[in-house]
């Protein structure tokens, strides 16, 4: 942990609350980036980030200082995002209920000739967001971290607190689940 950061933490624990603002300023872009992977609405994203910093402040006394503060904070962020996904699992409307015209068109082009449907198109991005949003909390976390953020199994295990074997099994199941959703869409559209 860098010396300046450990001094800041010691100051906060001595009661100098204003030192926490420096930590917020330093880490809030990363936490916003993370939260936006799991929540779409601005108020939900802001709630996640706020919750992370409030938890970090309240639990600062338990920070051991053996690993960098950033790792501790990112674990807290991952846990908060996961809790958010679980809380919103039930009351979320099914995002795959209706595909847009562009998404349908993209799928039709892929079915006709996979090379003509490009992955950099907005329609492809929207379609994959909808599919990922329809996954359960654990599958969504692991797919997002492994496929979108390109984190290793070890990094995901450290962030989530799951074992490496659980991460591997989860990743396999999540990809399978994605494939099943795509098969269902294909069946509905093309059969």
């Amino acid at each position: 942990m860098d010396n300046h950061e450990s001094k800041l933490i010691a100051a906060i624990l001595r009661g100098e609350v204003e030192a926490f603002e420096v930590l917020i300023e330093r880490y809030q872009p990363r936490i916003f980036g993370n939260a936006r992977r799991y929540a779409r609405r601005t108020d939900e994203v802001e709630d996640i980030v706020q919750e992370v910093f409030i938890k970090a402040y309240q639990k600062l006394g338990t920070f051991r200082g053996e690993a960098p503060f950033e790792h501790w904070l990112m674990r807290l962020t991952t846990r908060t995002c996961y809790d958010f996904l679980r809380r919103h699992q039930k009351n979320r409307e099914h995002p795959l209920a209706e595909l847009s015209e562009d998404e349908n068109d993209w799928l039709e082009r892929f079915a006709a000739s996979p090379e003509s449907a490009h992955d950099e198109e907005d329609a492809a991005r929207q379609l994959v967001s909808k599919i990922i949003e329809s996954l359960n909390a654990e599958d969504r976390m692991v797919i997002t971290m492994q496929e979108i953020e390109e984190k290793s199994v070890k990094e995901i295990a450290q962030l989530t607190g799951w074992s490496e074997s659980k991460v591997k099994v989860r990743a396999f199941r999540a990809r399978n689940q994605m494939r099943k959703i795509l098969a269902r869409i294909a069946k509905e559209k093309f059969l």
Binding site: I12, Y57, A124
Partner: protein, 99 residues
């Protein structure tokens, strides 16, 4: 339709840099919330755990020092054997006397 290829293509499409934009003065909003919360303090159990952990090498060094300073030529294994035997036999002798 090749579902594996479609999955791969869509996952490739999902890769995008994170949007790290921060709303104006967001840190002030959090700081305002913190003023209502109790101030964080160092966990006393953690403090003790750290202190005990730090004491481990010192204790080990003291043990090693005490061992090295104790009579190096004296072999206590024989006398310990005898003492153990005497203790065990004494209890059986006492038992025999009582009955």
């Amino acid at each position: 339709m090749d579902l594996d290829k479609l999955t791969e293509k869509l996952l490739k499409a999902a890769k995008s840099p994170a949007d790290e934009a921060v709303p104006y003065a967001f840190e002030k909003r959090i700081m305002a919330h913190l003023s209502d919360l109790p101030k964080p303090v160092l966990d006393p159990l953690l403090f003790w755990a750290r202190a005990l952990w730090n004491a481990v090498p010192v204790c080990l060094a003291l043990c090693l020092g005490a061992f090295l300073l104790s009579e190096p030529g004296h072999s206590s294994s024989t006398s310990l054997d005898v003492e153990l035997k005497n203790t065990v036999m004494y209890s059986s002798e006492v038992f025999a006397q009582v009955w």
